[in-house]
């Protein structure tokens, strides 16, 4: 298992390099000019000088190499300096955002907590809702509960999050006034009342994302449970005289969880992607909103870095899913 993990990690490096190159070359074709927001009174030679200062006069491979160096060497050094108070990165140029004129990673670190809070809790909640629903639907297949559950999960992943979000805002924040419609990033949780406020403002985006995730995962859970319910070992367990509860929760559930856990792991990066839309609906100032503003502002270093981070997440969680599958199911041998 360890050798498999190491081999996959090594294989992930060329994949990620290739993805970084694809993103870089795509962005290199962008028609926008980073100098476009500068005043027109700047003389052409100064403008040229500014372009040179940004490194834009260099050929593509030099700029790509520089970005790689900055992302993989300088930024980790900055993290080390920050943690241990050393000064390895002193004087090294970092990836600078064109619109904020400050290091890209600093801005990402500022925005990360909002995304993690909203998206993370939504995903956890989605999983927690989905698994019991999937179990009950499978155990009572074709019952009223199963029919309703299947219908709701069908609706859950057919209705796009931007419509559920907008609908919930109309109902709960406009008409009923229970929850705020806009996420307040400045809110600091200091006491119970501000904690309550935080919970209220998280309620709607979390609910929208949780419904969407729960819809998908509960269907996987139901299908996986149904696959296992007809297996021979279940009949054996029943024949031994075990009560239905033990059969389902001890035997079937544990075996059915194997594919579901990998599906949950695989879904994590796509949640970050899907959260782009939800963040836009509720004006959550997270990574998705950052990407949209960066795209609109033609801030290529920011777009490059963010997109690459999403790619890293995808590759990483693919690996996590494979490893988990091997750990949970001893029948799977990768070596």
């Amino acid at each position: 298992m360890l050798t498999f993990t190491i081999r996959r990690l090594v294989l992930a490096i060329p994949t990620l390099l290739f993805i970084a190159l694809v993103i870089f070359l795509l962005l290199d074709m962008a028609p926008g000019d980073p100098m476009a927001d500068q005043p027109l009174t700047i003389p052409p030679e100064v403008r040229e000088e500014m372009r040179r200062a940004l490194g834009l006069d260099q050929p593509v491979y030099v700029r790509f190499g520089l970005w790689l160096y900055q992302f993989f060497v300088v930024e980790p050094l900055v993290v080390i300096d920050h943690l241990f108070g050393t000064a390895y990165s002193a004087g090294q140029a970092r990836v600078i955002s064109w619109q904020f004129k400050s290091p890209v990673m600093d801005i990402i670190v500022q925005r990360l907590p909002q995304t993690l809070w909203v998206v993370g809790s939504a995903y956890m909640l989605g999983v927690l809702i989905a698994i019991p629903i999937g179990i009950v639907s499978a155990v009572r297949q074709y019952s009223v509960f199963d029919q309703i559950g299947t219908f709701i999960s069908m609706v859950g992943f057919s209705v796009p999050t931007f419509f559920t979000g907008v609908l919930l805002i109309v109902i709960f924040s406009v008409n009923l006034g229970w929850f705020p419609s806009i996420y307040d990033t400045q809110l600091r949780v200091t006491d119970w009342s501000s904690f309550g406020q935080q919970v209220r403002q998280m309620a709607l985006p979390v609910f929208v994302l949780a419904l969407f995730n729960a819809a998908q995962i509960s269907r996987y859970m139901r299908a996986s449970m149904l696959d296992n319910m007809t297996q021979d070992y279940v009949r054996t367990a029943r024949a031994k005289g075990m009560d239905e509860r033990t059969v389902v929760l001890r035997h079937v559930l544990r075996n059915s969880m194997i594919p579901v856990v990998t599906v949950i792991a695989l879904g994590v990066p796509s949640v970050f992607g899907g959260a782009i839309i939800t963040e836009q609906v509720f004006k959550v100032n997270g990574l998705g909103a950052l990407l949209i503003t960066a795209i609109n502002a033609n801030d290529l270093p920011m777009v490059q870095t963010l997109t690459f981070i999403f790619a890293v997440l995808i590759v990483l969680f693919n690996l996590v899913a494979d490893v988990l599958y091997g750990i949970l199911d001893p029948r799977i041998r990768y070596d």
Partner: protein
């Protein structure tokens, strides 16, 4: 489902059907009639298919029945509420000229919904067809020619590891202006969105088709066809494609649903069609600012997207059951 494709699979499976499927041969029916019979027993799928046909007819025939131009600015009658509002609010501003109300520039919501539906459905179908063509091509090539298998599947894995929504957004930004200049504002964006969605959604189809082709290659009728010297260019259209059609159709329904959602998401994020060009997602996005006063402008396009996608998903569910020989005939 017409009788046209029925000739393909029946000729491909002319050898006696193995196992208990005698009923099939006795009926003398093609596989497709049997699939259709099973499909009709799935209530959700039939409802979904009916709704999809109705929505498509509504969008195609709509402009002839409701003869209002969606771009018409009827400023005298701006900000009208839908006609049914008069039921509970007698003071509401309504007019029969605009049964679903009008927006802040006096554009008719019903006409916009029809025009928007045409664009959304056209984008959905074309993008889905493109992604099916790419996916099937890659899948069949990888499954049939083992030399290509490694390369094509590594490539598929690479594309799957790309963050697709961000890249799609970046593509919109990059090529919008050049394509707009080349094909005009509407056609340019249409081509861009269709190509963008098409080339970012073929991977699952390719994987499924490859798996099916690999399994098919082990079957006797392929061996028989090969032993009489059938070359690949005849083998693929005559024996392989008709037999992977069922998986392609199931993943086509998923593709249609996700293409419609992706298009409206792009429009919703402001990176889709230009603002005076209605699509369902665009209508929804434009109305969110004033949704507190005019919720119907958000709800109607949203309902249109959701119900269409829901019905397509139900059709997919029904098709999957209908194609599954373990369920069929029960």
């Amino acid at each position: 489902m017409t009788d046209a494709p029925a000739a393909g699979p029946s000729s491909a499976t002319k050898m006696p059907m193995p196992g208990p499927d005698v009923r099939l041969a006795a009926a003398g029916a093609s596989q497709w009639k049997d699939v259709w019979r099973q499909f009709r027993t799935h209530k959700g799928a039939v409802l979904g298919a009916t709704f999809l046909v109705l929505v498509t007819l509504f969008c195609i025939l709509g402009p002839w029945i409701w003869r209002v131009d969606p771009g018409d600015l009827d400023v005298r009658n701006k900000d009208l509420r839908p006609i049914y509002h008069a039921l509970w609010d007698s003071g509401a501003k309504v007019a029969w000229a605009h049964p679903l109300g009008s927006d802040n520039l006096g554009r008719d919501l019903l006409a916009s919904l029809i025009a928007g539906g045409r664009v959304s459905l056209a984008v959905g179908w074309t993008a889905m067809l493109l992604s099916m063509v790419i996916g099937t091509l890659v899948g069949v090539l990888a499954g049939y020619f083992w030399r290509l298998d490694g390369v094509l599947m590594r490539f598929t894995d690479l594309v799957l590891a790309l963050p697709l929504l961000p890249l799609l957004l970046v593509m919109m930004l990059l090529f919008r202006d050049s394509l707009r200049a080349a094909f005009g504002p509407e056609m340019g964006i249409f081509l861009l969105i269709v190509t963008g969605i098409g080339i970012t959604s073929w991977m699952n189809t390719a994987r499924i088709v490859r798996g099916d082709v690999l399994a098919l290659k082990e079957r006797e009728f392929i061996l028989a066809a090969r032993s009489i010297g059938t070359p690949a260019r005849r083998m693929i259209p005559r024996h392989i494609l008709p037999n992977v059609m069922s998986s392609i159709m199931v993943s086509a329904t998923l593709g249609l649903a996700s293409a419609i959602i992706t298009e409206s998401a792009l429009s919703f994020l402001g990176l889709g069609f230009p603002s005076d060009f209605p699509t369902w997602g665009k209508l929804l996005f434009d109305s969110t600012d004033r949704m507190a006063d005019f919720p119907e402008r958000v709800i109607w396009p949203g309902l249109a997207i959701s119900l269409t996608v829901l019905s397509v998903n139900y059709i997919g569910d029904g098709l999957r059951d209908a194609f599954d020989p373990r369920i069929r005939g029960r």
